[in-house]
Amino acid sequence: MEIQPVTTVQAVSLAKLIRLLAITGKKAYHRYLYEPISYAGWEGPKQAWSSKKYMEKVKQDCQDLSRLNSIAPLCKRMVCQAMTENPSALGDSCLLFLEVIHREPIIAGSRESVEFVKIIQNPLKEFEEIHSNRSEKLFEQAVTDFTPEELVSAFKPVKLDTHKEKVYMDTEVHNLYQQVLSASKSGNLQRCKKLLSAFILKYRDSDTYSEEEVDQLIRALEKREAGFAEELLGSMAIDLYYQLTKAILEKNIKKSIASIRKYAHIFEGDPNTPYFLEIDKMERTLYKIISEKGLMDELKKSL
């Protein structure tokens, strides 16, 4: 049977979930990451190298095209070894494995990568579901506990002088263009994706955001690799949802609200975007509490 390679969106999403798991606590980490890998028999025997050394070797081999085929088996040994060490070694190893899967299509299509994703995918999805319900409750609690002043400050945009802001944005777009050009010349479309994603997530809700220029870059890259735009949007949605849930766990309401707004600006109500309904639920909670506290007029004054 033909092996279906791991997709970029799968790898990015699983990596975000592992990061969330890490800040959730040891018990969840053990249940949703350690146990599934252990039950799948990916544990020990203790290897000659430490997981740290394997990580260095994987990073080194990624620079050498002739060694790409040997990286996935090496990653498997790295994860098996990390299982005999400590939770942090395991997390780092899993994240590196997912990163190289994300970066190199050859690795994404290897037997070890597909098996690895198959092992961790379902437990992490289960965690995601539980976590999502918990996040909604935590979010509601955090917004309820917020003082009116804090809530107003959460909505307050950073105002620069319009001209200065425009000049700054032009410079930033120019830098982005140069960096994307250089990455695409060397065929590194993953880097292009990262650069664009970081830029859009940072500036999309700004008044002076250079929408046309950024869209042009995306269209050009889509011509080089069909599906580029869809993958970029998918990764950004996962990234934003991760930022939002992380902010909720850290009780950082300002960041939570900013993430919701960015999500709305970027995806413009596209129902195919990952986490579309989850974000909508949290937003309803937010507006309900703002309205109950009678804060809307105060918030609008801060705009």
């Binding site: 999500y263 709305a264 600006h265 109500g269 596209d270 909508d280 809307m296 705009l303």
Partner: protein, 115 residues
């Protein structure tokens, strides 16, 4: 759980398409409105009034949809305007910066005069 409801009633006032919205415009209902508006635009409508008299809630997913439609209309030298927007809904639109991109009128007559 109750099904999300957004009722869309369509009428024509000269060359202006008037859509009266009733119910909630959120992540669950926004795709229906998007489909409706996309079909209308494809059929040639470029001047649109959204009558929000009976709209009871709007979420960013709904505003995002309206934003995308407004962009498409502007590209065709058209536009979408809103009327009868309740204070709560207008407040949310203000917070999402949507009222910077679309004109809001108190009544339908004023909205029709915008074209």
């Amino acid at each position: 759980m109750a099904q999300p409801i957004l009722k869309i009633s369509e009428s024509k006032q000269g060359n202006v398409l008037v859509l009266a919205l009733s119910g909630e415009l959120d992540a669950k209902t926004a795709p229906d409105l998007r489909t409706h508006l996309d079909n209308s635009i494809q059929a040639g409508a470029i001047r649109v009034v959204l009558d929000c008299k009976s709209l009871t809630y709007v979420a960013s997913a709904g505003i995002g949809t309206l934003n995308a439609v407004q962009k498409a209309l502007v590209q065709k030298s058209g536009q979408m305007v809103l009327c009868h927007v309740a204070k709560d809904i207008k407040d949310t639109m203000d917070l999402m910066y949507f009222t910077k991109k679309v004109k809001v009128f108190p009544g339908l007559e004023e909205a029709l005069q915008a074209f």
